[in-house]
């Protein structure tokens, strides 16, 4: 088959069918199968060169072409005539195919340059034909088009891998981008923590005001305590309300110092309409374990943690439950209705009774009522000489005598929300009491340096607990540095390493 076609072509081109037109001159060096005698493809009006645009080369021609034309006996710019009438002057140059195979680049230039990516896609390039033919040429110039084409050329496996990688990156972004995490922890959607249900109310500026200037230590205590609360609130997405207790002075005028807690809580109830639980904290508290969330630590297992029957621990000897026959069964029950949903006040008891350094109230009409009747001038007038702890004693009185208060109150073991240092509720021998005192082995949640302003050093206690909290909650990197590297350094040099 091959033989046949080759044979037919050769006869049609230069076979004996058109012998008359075949020039007598010997065959040009060109191996072209040109129909024009002498070879070459002539195009009228075009300065025929070898596909090169370099004019010098075109003018001089290739040596073979020059030789050819001179052999034909035509001088440049010679007269017309001759066979065909189409040959004029020097216009017709026959392309030469003598290869310029000088050097490696000369030979492989085209090949190499074709394999290179082409970045210039500007349409101003003269040779439009070649646009968009390179390997990297942007066929669709839009980004999405390019991406689509990329995806189209990609294998399925590669796509899957890319998807996994993307998912991984997204997960990283979601898990470690703080604002996203913050919002997620606040909302109760998407399995979030529901942090917006909690508001921390911290009484600051105790002892401030005009009459009583705060010293350096008082400022430091305030700074550290508030920083601690801010960090904690930010971490879990809670709201933090810092209230100014220097208005105590105003209350002192009205005999109401101590009860401003109720007023501040009422303000907070108005200010955060979405929140459910409000956590009052005295300034002398320090959150030792910021990694505990309130939800996880207390509220998700509220029924397990609280006790509602005060007989479980009853330092005040309140007779419980009520026995008056005119009360209903719920009021006479030791645990109210027993359901965690009916708890609206959570506090703890220390060695001398209720402690309001750290307690929770829930938004409800019940809470409104409690905060309303907590302060009563008739009660105050009769009892203010017997009430050294003011609002605390008033609450004890309400709890002891009002069934409606008792059936919605619950207690937490003190060390869950309100551990004491050993200076408070101190034992005679100065030892630890399991019920009241902070124990770092148990990683208690919060320390309340209650009563430190009376004969103890608040600042020393707070800085000690602050350092302890930092130490207990070090990162693994700090642990490595301090426990391994610093110890090794000490062993080697005998000197204590600076931390």
């Amino acid at each position: 088959m091959d033989n046949f076609s080759a044979c037919s072509r050769s006869t049609s081109l230069w076979g004996p069918s058109r012998p008359s037109r075949t020039p007598t001159t010997p065959m040009s060096l060109s191996r072209s199968t040109s129909p024009i005698p002498g070879g070459g493809w002539a195009t009228p009006g075009l300065d025929m060169t070898n596909g090169r645009s370099s004019p010098t080369r075109a003018a001089s021609g290739t040596p073979a072409a020059w030789q050819q034309s001179s052999r034909l006996g035509r001088s440049p710019g010679g007269g017309s005539g001759g066979s065909g009438g189409s040959r004029k002057n020097n216009q017709y140059r026959y392309p030469s195919f003598s290869t310029r195979t000088q050097g490696f680049f000369g030979r492989h230039m085209r090949h190499l340059s074709n394999t290179l990516p082409r970045f210039n896609s500007s349409s101003s390039y003269a040779d439009k034909e070649k646009l968009g033919r390179g390997r990297w040429s942007p066929r669709n110039t839009t980004l999405s088009g390019r991406v689509l084409s990329l995806l189209g050329r990609m294998g399925r496996k590669m796509k899957l891998r890319l998807l996994v990688l993307l998912f991984f990156l997204l997960a990283l972004l979601v898990l470690f981008s703080s604002s996203f995490v913050h919002r997620w922890r606040r909302s109760s959607w998407w399995g979030g923590g529901g942090g917006e249900r909690f508001v921390m109310v911290v009484g600051a500026n105790v002892g401030g005001g005009v009459a009583d200037w705060k010293g350096e230590k008082e400022w430091a205590i305030e700074r550290h305590s508030l920083h601690n609360k801010k960090q904690y609130a930010r971490r879990w997405g809670y709201d933090l309300e810092i209230v100014d207790m220097k208005t105590q002075k105003r209350y002192a005028h009205e005999w109401r110092e101590g009860w401003e807690k109720a007023d501040f809580l009422r303000q907070a109830l108005q200010k955060y309409p979405k929140a459910e639980w409000f956590w009052w904290l005295d300034l002398t508290t320090y959150i030792m374990e910021p990694s505990y969330s309130l939800q996880h630590h207390i509220f998700s297992g509220l029924a397990r943690h609280v006790y509602r029957d005060i007989n479980e621990f009853n330092p005040l000897n309140i007779s419980h439950p009520f026995t008056d026959p005119y009360l209903d069964a719920e009021s006479r029950s030791p645990v109210g209705d027993g359901r965690p949903e009916s708890i609206h006040l959570i506090l703890s008891q220390d060695c001398s009774g209720f402690n309001l350094g750290s307690f929770f109230v829930r938004r409800s009409e019940w809470t409104d009522r409690l905060l309303d009747v907590w302060w009563d001038p008739v009660a105050y007038e009769q009892r203010h000489t017997e009430w050294p702890h003011k609002e605390q004693d008033a609450l004890e009185e309400l709890y002891a005598s009002h069934p409606w208060v008792r059936k919605h109150t619950a207690f937490l073991p003190q060390r869950m929300i309100n551990s004491f240092p050993q200076g408070a509720c101190a034992k005679d021998d100065g030892g630890r009491d399991e019920r009241f005192h902070y124990d770092k082995k148990d990683r208690d949640f919060l320390v309340n340096m209650a009563g430190c302003e009376f004969g103890r050093d608040c600042w020393a206690e707070m800085s000690e607990f602050k350092e302890l909290s930092r130490h207990l909650n070090r990162s693994w990197w700090d642990r490595l540095k301090e426990d391994v590297v610093a110890a090794a350094w000490e062993n080697m040099t005998g000197r204590k390493a600076k931390q």
Binding site: S187, S188, W189, W190, G191, G192, G194, R197, E276, D324, P325, Y326, L327, D328, A329, E330, S331, D337, R339, E341, S342, H344, R362, R363, S364, E365, W366, T367, D368, R369, D372, V373, D376, P377, V378, A379, E381, Q382, R383, E397, L398, S401, H402, P403, W404, K407, H408
Partner: protein
């Protein structure tokens, strides 16, 4: 590659053709995709459901606003519920203060009125309750509280002092006075709680549906504790137990429980905001007095604020005859 012979077909062809695919356009590779999508959908549903139970539990407690969840057996009737019974009439009969004959008349008066309308009565004596050295007049508070315990499904408790009679048996308490539309007309808004002047006034914006306690004033001097209506519910318990607080009882209020009541309204907004004060003719007309407080025919109640002991019997005789006639007429 070439085989010498094409592979043979099996000599035992299956009796039927397997369907190419169960669903058109459903290929094995798509099954994976569908499974993943289903899983994602399920987890979304789970997350949303979880969030809703979360917010549901929190918002329900917010919505019910502390109307504490109580077990079904003691659940109070909801608003608009007619109650069973609709009204409990409470009277404390102090035998040291009144004669036997007089108290018998009071008893009959309450029972007959209650029977006529399907109400219940709770007729107590001060010795039924432990008042801890407080005056015997305080017994009314635990007596009303007792009524809430004994009739947990009642809608209202009406406390009417022993020094008073129901005069108009035709009036139905929950229809003619306490129905929100009716109470809305009777309530006196933005008036001083006690006396003719005073900074503490009843709420101007109080809706009749929100009123928990219907009270009258006492001849323009203070609040009258001799006749009031309390709606059953958590607020009522809160109110009564606070009123009965030992520090109120031990405080030497000049008029004991009546002044304690006034004190509560003055100082505690959660109480004041649920109190509707009505005209004395509605619940508490006096047999004699000035300023339009005195009883006139058609009033529900007549009270004798200043009577005591033997004098009471003579002072009230005319009214006893009047209510017996009225009740007979209503019967017939």
């Amino acid at each position: 590659m070439h085989f010498a012979l094409p592979p043979r077909k099996t000599s035992q062809p299956p009796p039927y053709l397997r369907p190419a695919a169960r669903l058109p356009g459903f290929r094995r590779t798509r099954a994976k995709l569908v499974a993943i999508a289903g899983l994602v959908l399920l987890s979304l549903v789970y997350l949303i459901a979880r969030a809703q139970t979360h917010s549901g539990s929190s918002s329900s407690s917010g919505r019910s606003h502390g109307a504490a969840p109580v077990p079904a057996r003691t659940r109070n009737p909801s608003r608009g519920d007619r109650g069973d019974p609709p009204v409990v009439i409470v009277t404390v009969l102090d035998e040291t203060k009144y004669t036997k004959e007089y108290l018998q008349a009071v008893r009959e008066n309450r029972v007959q009125y209650a029977e006529k309308h399907g109400y219940k009565t709770l007729l107590a004596t001060p010795s039924d309750y432990d008042l801890a050295e407080a005056p015997a007049s305080w017994a009314l508070v635990p007596a009303v509280r007792d009524a809430l315990t004994r009739f947990p499904r009642c809608a209202y408790v009406w406390y009417l002092d022993a020094a008073g009679f129901v005069m108009n048996p035709r009036l139905k308490l929950e229809e003619d006075i306490l129905r929100p539309a009716q109470l809305d007309k009777l309530m006196r808004r933005d008036v001083p709680v006690a006396g003719t002047d005073g900074a503490v006034k009843t709420l101007a914006s109080l809706k009749a549906e929100d009123a928990e306690l219907v009270l009258t004033q006492d001849g323009g001097e203070g609040l009258a504790a001799g006749s009031f209506v309390l709606r059953n519910g958590e607020w009522a318990k809160f109110f009564l137990e606070t009123w009965f607080g030992p520090l109120y009882r031990s405080y030497k209020f000049k008029k004991a429980e009546a002044h304690a009541l006034e004190h509560m309204l003055r100082w505690h907004s959660t109480i004041l905001s649920r109190v509707a004060i009505v005209d004395q003719h509605v619940l508490n007309a006096y047999n004699k007095g000035a300023g339009g407080q005195e009883y006139k025919d058609g009033d529900l109640v007549v009270r004798f604020p200043s009577c005591s002991g033997k004098a009471c019997e003579t002072e009230t005789r005319a009214f006893v005859q009047a209510w017996r006639r009225a009740f007979d007429a209503a019967q017939g």
